[in-house]
């Protein structure tokens, strides 16, 4: 297919054409810009937090500012970066291409979802006028009820952003069921689509629970209804049940699509069919299903009954099985492959390395007798970042580099991209590995100040954070340089087999000039 000069980028012109576009690719690019912007803000907060923690006592700001920065780092990274990062940004661009469709099923809802994110984020930032919020991204009651600042705004902002997630989920489920091209059976779909599909189910089922919970919290703050406030006869622990009933599935909303990207990258850069297609596809669904029954592992020491804790520990172990299946299948895919180390593949390998460590430490935390010691210490902080940054963020970065030529029809500077990876990967381990040790030593999380024995490891950790920061600055340069001066990319620079590479780079307005027809699986490298 010859690349035509007409494509989705020059199909219409002007800012207004972007703000009112119904093209899933353009909406994907708008999500890309917003997500990267929020990532820069959340990352800046992370650098400030680590700088404060470089030594015990006050270094750059006091306890109050630290707690507000911590809340904003968490809320921005979770609600505005990691959750929309893969489905709404990369998924939006890639999903219809992957199944040979012209667009998603509900283009207008798709655009509305972007505005929900923007409006929600704007409401969240309004809180800054009222001294921000200092509750942490988990908004635990009753502290979040009585704290005197902009918490109501943050909570309402997260509520509105939830609709962005729900609309994307509804759109993707319908798109996968209704818009597959001729010959695209469920078992010929790329594994990325399976990942996005399981994520979409979670987004639809779990996000409304968060919405209701946050609304109840806002009602509690404004009207004093007494659902969570013990002074009015409410139960503060009930909030935790509601919150984690969403927020545990939410961590799978964050990781499942990342696992999808990894399946794409591993096959493309080892030029080999995926090992255990069905096992990986079904394990996505399996993880999604079990994820609804494990929320209590966030509450082992919250005062829930011993029996409840033990049952949640058992169920949590079950999530480990499909996760292990995926990991083994990815490694097995490399066997007798033809492996190439371009930057997307480096991120995929980095994912496997870090996610494995994140996974085994997750099992440690699921072991109830062990968790009691680790709970609410830096061990949890380290584990969470190993799966969310080492997992999801690595996949986002790999995905950006992998699909960059398809999105913009240009290539980026490969050498600089590899350098950026090196700083991020090494810096990540320098930052977060010491935090496992800090956790074992008993250092609690959300501490503005700490005992002197924790100082050396905190110094190392802060140094690592600066390395990550530097790595991302190089990454920013790679993207901007690629956009401005990148050489023209071919339609299929990686020699990959999935459908998006069969059309032009960048793709035309409705993706394919002639409707594709599929006769084989997605990874037919023979």
């Amino acid at each position: 297919m010859a690349s035509s000069t007409h494509n989705y980028l020059n199909h219409e012109k002007g800012l207004w054409s972007w703000l009112t576009t119904l093209d899933h690719k353009r909406i994907g690019i708008m999500y890309m810009i917003t997500v990267l912007l929020f990532f820069a803000i959340g990352g800046t907060f992370a650098m400030l937090l680590r700088t404060e923690l470089i030594a015990p006592g006050e270094t750059i700001f006091g306890a109050q500012l630290y707690n507000q920065a911590m809340t904003f780092h968490g809320a921005i990274m979770v609600f505005m970066v990691i959750i929309p990062g893969i489905p709404a940004f990369i998924g939006n661009f890639i999903l219809p291409l992957h199944i040979g469709a012209k667009d998603v099923a509900f283009p207008r809802l798709n655009l509305l979802s972007w505005y929900c994110l923007i409006v929600g984020a704007a409401i969240t930032f309004v809180s800054l006028i009222y001294h921000g919020s200092d509750t942490g991204w988990t908004f635990y009651t009753p502290y979040s009820i009585e704290t005197d600042n902009g918490t109501t705004w943050v909570v309402l902002g997260a509520f509105v952003m939830g609709f962005s997630s729900i609309l994307t989920g509804v759109n993707f489920v319908t798109t996968v069921h209704k818009l597959r091209c001729k010959g695209m059976t469920f078992f010929r779909m790329p594994l990325m689509v399976w990942g996005l599909y399981s994520t979409a189910i979670l987004q639809i089922l779990a996000t409304p629970v968060l919405g209701i919970t946050l609304l109840l919290l806002a009602a509690e703050r404004i009207l004093g209804v007494g659902i969570f406030d013990p002074k009015l006869g409410g139960d503060p622990v009930l909030f935790q049940h509601f919150f984690w009933f969403y927020s545990h599935p939410a961590v799978y909303i964050m990781i499942l699509p990342a696992m999808g990207i990894i399946s794409e990258l591993i096959t493309a850069f080892s030029r080999k069919t995926i090992f255990g297609y069905r096992a990986i596809a079904f394990s996505s669904i399996g993880i999604a299903a079990v994820s609804f029954f494990v929320w209590g592992h966030h509450m082992f020491v919250s005062g829930q009954s011993e029996l409840a804790g033990v049952i949640f520990s058992l169920l949590t172990m079950l999530v480990g099985v499909p996760t292990a299946i995926k990991t083994f299948n990815w490694v097995a895919t490399l066997y007798k492959g033809s492996v190439q180390f371009q930057s997307p593949m480096l991120y995929a390998l980095g994912f496997l390395f870090l996610f494995t460590i994140g996974g085994v430490t997750g099992i440690m935390l699921a072991t109830i007798g062990m968790d009691v010691h680790f709970h609410d210490t830096y061990f949890v902080v380290a584990h969470f970042h190993y799966v969310m940054v080492g997992g999801t963020l690595m996949a986002i970065m790999g995905g950006i580099y992998y699909w960059f030529p398809k999105m913009f029809g240009k290539m980026y500077n490969e050498l600089a991209a590899q350098l950026s990876f090196l700083f991020i990967f090494i810096g990540f381990n320098v930052t977060f590995f010491p935090q496992f040790v800090l956790g074992a030593m008993g250092m609690p999380r959300r501490y503005f100040d700490y005992l002197p024995i924790y100082e050396p490891l905190n110094k190392i950790s802060t140094f690592g954070a600066y390395m990550i920061g530097f790595g991302f600055l190089i990454g920013l340069y790679v993207i901007i340089d690629g956009l401005l001066k990148g050489p023209k990319a071919s339609d299929n620079p990686w020699g990959a087999k999935t459908l998006e590479w069969q059309t032009a780079s960048p793709p035309p307005h409705e993706n394919f000039l002639t409707e594709p027809e599929v006769t084989a699986g997605p990874y037919e490298y023979r």
Binding site: A63, Q64, N67, D134, T135, Y140, P142, Y143, E146, D148, P230, K231, R271, G276, V301, G303, E306, G309, V310, S313, M317, G320, V321, A324, I325, T327, F328, V331, A332, L334, Y335, G337, S338, V339, Q340, F341, L352, T356, V360, T361, I363, A366, T367, I368, G369, M370, D371, V372, H373, D376, A440, M441, G442, P444, R445, R446, F448, Y450, L451, R526
Partner: protein, 321 residues
Amino acid sequence: MFGLIISLLVGKTIKASTFMPVQGSQVAAQVDSLYMFLLVTSAIFCVLVIGGLIYFVLKYRRKSDDDKTAYISHNNFLEFLWSFIPFVLFMIMFGWGWHVFHQMRDFSKDSLEVHAVGQKWFWDFKYKSGKSSAGEFYVPVNTPIKLIMTSKDVLHSFFLPGMRIKQDVIPGRYTALAFTPNKEGTYQVFCTEYCGDQHSSMLAKMKVVSQEEYEQWLQEDASAGLSLVEVGQKVYEQKCAVCHNTNAERKVGPGFAGLYNSERQFADGSSAVADENYIRESILVPGAKVVNGYPPAMPSFQGQLSEDELSGLIEFIKSLK
């Protein structure tokens, strides 16, 4: 070579178990055995996966652009193997974890019971004899202890790393911790549920001492023989120091130096001179007059201080120039 690096890392990680805090009880030793098992199993798993990964990518790296790869789609026996073996391991971990957790939650009937109350941002302890203390409490060695805990304001969590136990402390109800310390010494207590500005200062010490020393501590009157200012200083260190400096510098609330007899400007525009009655009112009914520029964050200490302690505190503040 990479295998070597990994095994070095693993060796380091195993040594890292010495980073666990001092073992203060039988249960702590059990937690540490479980920790070792989890650590070694995890390390083996990591070496297998990451080692296999590195071996494969190096061995099968691309040699030329027209490399042909093997078409291997799946292998059901392998899928079974790498689902079943992790499953069995996970069940062992689960069972072991349950067993250890059950020991932690074992409240024996003849426990020595101590009440603990969390409040922004310190811990208060009350004994059946009527003895009370703040920021520090004593327990006898080799005796089962039951801490009965509640909170005056928001969630807190009582973490004793030396005993490997923690439990959230919830306003409006009781939660409890059980442990039997078997080693004398001073143990750190942390608050591990975020509770506001000075969350990281909500620390306490637990002293595990011999039975005789414990009984002696229980008998002694903490304020006997102390001057009024010294009584006040003791109360200050236990309850006020988290939020107030002894110099004039602002912390959460105003610094105490030079406060006495100074002119205070209030949020409602009025003002007053800080005399004894003003300080007394600020401690017992803090909402009555809030100094301009400060949040109304001070909790009431009504009923928590004896008349002597209150006078002592006021004298102590007066002594800070």
